[in-house]
């Protein structure tokens, strides 16, 4: 058994930022465990630009953004293991991992930071009827084939779901000579960023069919086509709107699921809405000393926010190891009226930073609405928003001074209001 102060599970953007933050906050006894053969996570296959506008004030590609953190990890001499799969974490923070050279490696950690990221929803999760031929890919898998492996998934493409990876892949495949026939989105709005709809679809005349879904897959061996139907307000296909679209490939960009199988093994409490751990203001999970950040916690829209969040988790892991957490009453943050969830879900004022950033997504599109914060029954924030959409993460700043001014505060409510 090896002893380490802090073990970081996953060397993607969240893990890298968490590790650097641990180091900068004074703890060097850290190790990153990464299952892939390089650090950087999914950024390595995101060769498009648009990363780092907030963090570095410039437009980087995914690999460039990752490289800034990786070189810092190298410069600081932070320890990491590649090709290393964590197969178990228990609530006592013993981490079991395996790789080809070390075999089974067990580490007793004082603190753990979960940064495992997320995975794509598969066709099965959608229950799309039809055959099960070759030619159905999740958008991220197709991205890996094109950008890393150097192969095309097909020539005539239909994309189901307008998540960001799907939009990015519509452009990428078009640039590589494929015909992207349409992007179908079952919802009346896109799940992706506005800028991606403009830059990846509109600029290439790729139609975005809102309120449309794929209702059947054809082709016994390889995809030969799909049936596309319009859906009603209950997202049920409308009879008579079926359109057969010939294609050899169906790409799915239908949502991301935080990968919390390990968190569950450690008995970390999972939030049903985010599919990620429930965390407090320090990004501490229900198991003391286990922290979470990045897409394993909730699916982000921009990597910059992942890095910021992970840095906070790193800082707090160091604080935890140093025994600096103060007990205290936790104020509940309630998500209401169109706010689907909040991260964090509670704030203990004794451990809160000067400002706490509360991140969340709305459950629907709202135009010219207000984002409001109530401290118990008192409205303290009333922000006019031209548009709120589920595709973009929102945030609210909670300054610490609010708590000092209101020692009996029980609940913070964040909601969308019409006026």
């Amino acid at each position: 058994m090896i002893n380490r102060d802090i073990v970081i599970i996953g060397g993607g953007p969240a893990g890298l930022a968490a590790a650097i933050s641990c180091y900068e906050n004074g703890n060097k006894d850290i190790i990153i465990l990464e299952r892939d053969n390089s650090l950087g996570g999914i950024l390595n296959q995101c060769i498009h630009n648009g990363f780092g506008l907030h963090t570095f004030k410039e437009e980087l590609t995914g690999p460039e953004y990752a490289a800034r953190y990786i070189s810092q990890v190298h410069a600081l001499g932070i320890d990491y293991r590649l090709n290393t799969m964590v197969i178990d974490i228990n609530k006592d923070k013993v981490i079991s991992s395996i790789n080809e050279t070390d075999g089974l490696m067990q580490i007793q950690a004082k603190a753990v930071i979960l940064t495992m990221g997320c995975r794509e929803r598969s066709r099965g999760a959608l229950n799309i009827p039809g055959y099960r031929p070759a030619g159905i890919f999740s958008a991220g898998t197709a991205q890996r084939y094109v950008n890393i492996e150097g192969y095309m998934p097909g020539r005539q493409i239909v994309i189901l779901g307008s998540g960001d990876i799907g939009l990015i892949m519509a452009r990428r495949l078009t640039l590589e000579g494929a015909l992207v026939k349409m992007v179908c989105e079952i919802m009346p709005y896109s799940g992706g960023l506005k800028r991606n709809i403009v830059q990846c679809l509109d600029d290439y005349n790729i139609p975005l069919r809102l309120n449309h879904t794929v209702t059947k897959i054809y082709g016994k061996e390889r995809v030969t086509g799909v049936m596309v139907s319009e859906v009603d307000e209950n997202r049920q296909p409308i009879l008579g709107t079926e359109e057969y679209v010939e294609c050899d490939t169906l790409l799915l960009s239908v949502g991301l699921i935080p990968e919390n199988e390990l968190s569950r093994k450690a008995l970390v409490k999972i939030n049903a809405k985010t599919q990620g751990p429930e965390v407090d203001e320090c990004l501490s999970t229900s198991i003391p000393g286990i922290f979470a950040a990045g897409n394993v916690l909730h699916v982000h829209d921009l990597v910059d926010y992942v890095s910021m969040e992970a840095a906070l988790a790193g800082k707090n892991a160091v604080k935890y190891v140093n025994g600096l957490f103060k007990p205290g009453f936790s104020i509940i943050i309630e998500a209401k009226n169109g706010v689907r969830y909040t991260v964090p879900g509670t704030i203990n004022p004794n451990n809160a930073e000067d400002i706490t950033v509360v991140r969340f997504r709305t459950g629907d599109v709202y135009r010219d609405a207000y984002l409001s914060v109530y401290l118990d029954d008192e409205r303290v924030t009333h922000l006019k928003k031209r548009i709120l959409t589920p595709g973009e993460m929102e945030q609210i700043i909670i300054p610490k001074k609010w708590f000092a001014e209101r020692p009996n505060l029980q609940k913070i409510t964040i909601m969308v209001e019409k006026e």
Binding site: R35, N83, M85, I87, D88, S96, I98, N99, E100, T101, D102, G103, L104, Q106, R119, E120, S122, R123, G124, A125, N127, P129, G130, Y131, R132, P133, A134, G135, S138, G140, T141, R144, Y145, I148, E149, G150, Y151, M152, P153, G154, R155, E176, G177, T215, K216, I217, K220, E221, R222, P237, E261, R264
Partner: protein, 494 residues
Amino acid sequence: MVYNNNEISVYKGGMVMYDIVIIGAGVVGSSIARVLSKYDLKIAVMDKEADICEQTSKANSGIVHSGYDAHVGSMKAKMNLRGSKMMESLCKDLDIPYRRNGSLVLAFSKTDLPKLEALKDQGDANGVEGLQILSTEEVLLMEPNLSNEVTNALYAPTGGIVDPFKLTIAQAEVACQNGVEFKLKTKVIDVEKHDDYFIIFTDKGEFKTRILVNAAGVYADDVNNQLSAYKLKITPRKGEYCLFDKQVGNIVDKTIFQLPTALGKGVLVTPTPDGNLLVGPTANDIIDKDDISTTAEGLKSVIDRARKSVKQIPMGFVITAFAGLRATEQNGDFVIGEAIDVPNFFNAAGIESPGLTSAPAIGEYLGAMIANRLNAIEKSDYIKTRTDTVRFESLSLADKANLIKENPEYGKIICRCELVTLAQIKDAIHRPLGAKTIDGIKRRTRAGAGRCQGGFCSPRVIEILAKELHLDPREVAKSDSNSVMLIEFDKDSL
């Protein structure tokens, strides 16, 4: 492997003469091949698909039925009972997952109690051991997640679950290691009866055989009807299923049936030997013998009907849906044995449910009959057991550590969801009748069978298949040569 030189087993006009040719490399064909492989005979198994276990055998419930369903005295009853009895020791020999988890048939109204009792009487008459009628309280004590609407249930402690892929593949491997030739991607076009042999015309040439065995699944009527005046008619009866994440695999422990209907055993809810939850099947007679597409109505009906049995069906945890075809013969029973008007032509036709359970028994029954016909002699070097690919995920930490020490490739995880290692995938490729396709790897190792359905591992599986089989990645297919996954960049051809 040395064959005895049966006088006829020589080349005649360029055509190989076999003692036995089995058409169909599903679970039935593989069972028959395994049993006959212990004799000194020249045997071939032919299948149109690129792998064994490609049709009905790959898409069914994976249930070892206890045997109360089949009519007393029927071939189904006989084979079911025998198969159920054989299964445990056979699975031990084959080193494959099997669990006797028991089954329950639920009734939802007191007026159904007589039907349940009739089922029990039929089971008792068939020789099923330990059948018991339970009250609501007893049922819910056993399975707390079942619906409160349950009024009674028939409990069959001998019911079990088995991995249907492994039951097929493992038996084929045993046959193969004992010298049976597997001619895959070989489509039988025609069969012709001669005085003391048959000629089989295939897309890969012609073959002669003294004994012909028909285990052609939904196509078994086509084969039979070319030779026999006693025509069969097999209707594909489609069954659709939903498979759920292992996280919800323990909602039920036993296999949960509802009272059977005219079309079959109804929708069941069961754990699988690997810990998933399986719900299905529907039962719809169709025409196209290759139509294994799922339908919106079918999947909805599966879930609606399963909701009757179980309090909550965790729809958020569905990982895939699939459909399979039962080979339903019009007379309702298995057709097993020598055709009355065609000596040396043996049918294993109409093998619908409980076909998986019955397969080992059908192998034993027909095997004995055919060996007797040929006066076959048992080989001295027959090997009845085989070792499965390591199931890494289920090993203890210490066993995992030791294995990696022996072979570091057990330390390289390829499939994250099911914890499948490089060593397992290479073993699946290089063992007898090894995997050549992505689906073949999935069925042998479970790589790609988990919650992400190959999202993460399929690029790596393609890479490993290409490397080990000396293929270009663009030649690696999902299931056959028309199901390739990747193509080249347009720029490559510039």
